[in-house]
């Protein structure tokens, strides 16, 4: 059996929303090369909704598929809704992840959350929107 579900493979082979956002409203970076996976999420916010989500990921197949899935799940959601995306939900949407990949590669939700936090912080400091 392949270690990854077909859905993981699909999101890995054809990743959604890869890239950066110029002048993003928020950026979230997680992971490091020792653990093997690094993800950076960029967000654009409009009317408290994620108008755009993009990511860059260094990592294994699972890490890329997770980033890809998180970006898709998040896009169009309100910030509150997006904050509720958990690693478990992501894994479920991907039809499961291998046990040993769960913790290290499943950082997408965390990166997104960090990006939202960075946006909220900027806001609190009196940013634009």
């Amino acid at each position: 059996m392949p270690i990854y579900s077909e859905k993981v493979m699909e999101y890995f082979m054809n990743p959604r929303n890869v890239g950066e956002i110029d002048n993003p409203d928020g950026v979230g970076e997680v992971g490091n090369p020792v653990c093997g996976d690094m993800m950076t999420f960029y967000i654009k916010v409009k009317d408290k909704r994620l108008e755009d989500v993009k990511f860059k990921t260094f990592g294994c197949g699972a890490a890329i598929a997770v980033s890809s899935m998180v970006s898709e799940m998040a896009k169009g959601k309100t910030l509150d809704e997006a904050k509720k995306i958990t690693p478990e939900l992501v894994a479920k949407e991907l039809d499961g992840l291998p046990k040993n990949k769960f913790h290290c590669s499943n950082l997408g939700a965390q990166a997104l959350s960090k990006a939202i936090d960075s946006y909220l912080k900027k806001q609190a400091k009196g940013g634009k929107k």
């Binding site: 270690i3 890995f12 490091n32 090369p33 020792v34 653990c35 093997g36 950076t40 990921t57 260094f58």
Partner: protein, 395 residues
């Protein structure tokens, strides 16, 4: 789609001659070699032949060969068995930092059992300096285990020099030759070792069988207790078909080694020579000359190995990354880290290992499909973005 298998370090296909040799023992000749009837006799005879063939491959005599169930078993047997047999003399052992986990983790188990363990570092090419072994020898050192060749980095070690040191100090010396025996010349007399591990599935023989050479007169504690098979040193009904296959593979390796090495070396050099022109920021790993002929290992910067190998697989190319294949862990290969590579670079490891059926066309295909894969992953990589913007992380 073209299918190109370039993961011979993980395992090799059976040669047709090897399979042919095995088939009768999966059929009519199914006897248990311990039995005293015609079926047993036939099985025993087949094992005798295989033992001669394996002995011949490594310059040993037949009664110095013990058949095991895998390379891993040979290593566990040797490391634990030699240490335990001599614990009356001392409880200190020495292994290199780049040993396969079957040696390293056996050594760690010995640590739990009260032994002390010293690890010998390697240089950037993965070479163990014999003097570094010498420095670690103590009065109570009973065993040194340094591999003959590292399957991942491809580097071949200076075993005869290390053996000279262990001999002077009257210490047992085991070498893991699983990645090299059957592929490059391995002669136990020339190496001067007391014990040597090898495995069938590394040179077109079957899985499920290994062998351990134990020099005449050297004592070893059994790992598998039970019946008196293998002169009481390794119990259990013998895997006759696999042993027959190992013997046949050894015979063919002895005969064809020179021409195989030439072919593999040519393919490897072609890949490594063409690489820099196709992919920038690729770091070739392992020793430039003293290396296994079929081994082309390198790290592609800014991207990660598993995703590279998955995309290669989608193009029909089977390779492995660092020790991903044996560990399925997310951590960078302990071998590359021991060679001084950063985690960031070590994560981008990819390992092409050629086999006798590969051709120039396979190399050309890799050179065609790999660059766009690297490009795709770099476009996704935050590390590459940083490098492009700020020049961070270039090697």
């Amino acid at each position: 789609m073209r299918k190109v298998y370039l993961d011979h370090a993980a395992t090799t296909p059976l040669l047709p001659e090897v399979r042919e040799a095995m088939l009768p023992y999966l059929g009519e000749l199914f006897g248990n070699p311990s039995c005293l009837h015609d079926w047993g006799d036939a099985a025993r005879e087949a094992m005798d032949t295989a033992r001669e063939q394996v002995a011949e491959l490594i310059g040993a005599s037949a009664d110095e060969i013990i058949f095991t169930g895998s390379g891993t078993e040979s290593n566990n047997f040797a490391v634990k068995g030699l240490a335990l047999a001599q614990q009356g003399r001392g409880k200190h052992i020495i292994v290199s930092a780049i040993e396969h986990f079957s040696v390293l983790h056996s050594a760690k188990t010995l640590e739990k059992w009260g032994f002390e363990l010293s690890e010998v570092p390697v240089d950037r090419y993965g070479v163990v300096d014999p003097d570094e072994v010498r420095k670690r020898i103590r009065k109570d050192t009973v065993l040194v285990s340094v591999m003959h060749a590292n399957g991942e980095a491809g580097t071949i070690e200076s075993i005869p020099e290390i053996a000279r040191i262990t001999r002077e100090n009257n210490i047992s010396f085991h070498t893991d030759a699983i990645a090299s025996a059957g592929t490059v010349p391995v002669n136990v007399k020339e190496l001067g070792v007391d014990a040597l591990s090898l495995a069938g599935n590394q040179f077109y023989g079957p899985k499920g069988v290994g062998a351990l050479y134990i020099r005449q007169g050297v004592r070893v504690m059994p790992l598998l207790d039970g019946g008196v098979q293998e002169e009481g040193r390794r119990a259990g009904t013998e895997n006759v078909p696999a042993i027959v296959g190992l013997g046949k593979a050894a015979e063919l390796a002895t005969k064809d080694m020179a021409s195989r090495m030439k072919h593999l070396g040519y393919l490897r050099d072609r890949l490594l020579n063409e690489l820099p022109a196709r992919i920038d920021h690729a770091v070739i790993t392992g020793h430039p000359e003293n290396r296994l002929p079929g081994n082309a290992s390198f790290c592609v910067q800014f991207i990660e190995g598993e995703s590279m190998l998955m995309l290669l697989n989608s193009q029909g190319v089977a390779v492995t990354s660092g020790s991903a294949c044996t560990s399925r862990a997310l951590k960078a290969s302990h071998v590359l880290i021991a060679m001084g590579l950063s985690h960031e670079i070590a994560q981008g490891s990819v390992l092409f290992t050629f086999g006798i059926d590969n051709t120039e066309k396979d190399v050309d295909y890799v050179l065609e499909v790999l660059p766009p894969i690297v490009e795709k992953l770099r476009q996704m990589s935050p590390l590459y973005a940083k490098f492009i913007k700020k020049g961070e992380g270039g090697a």
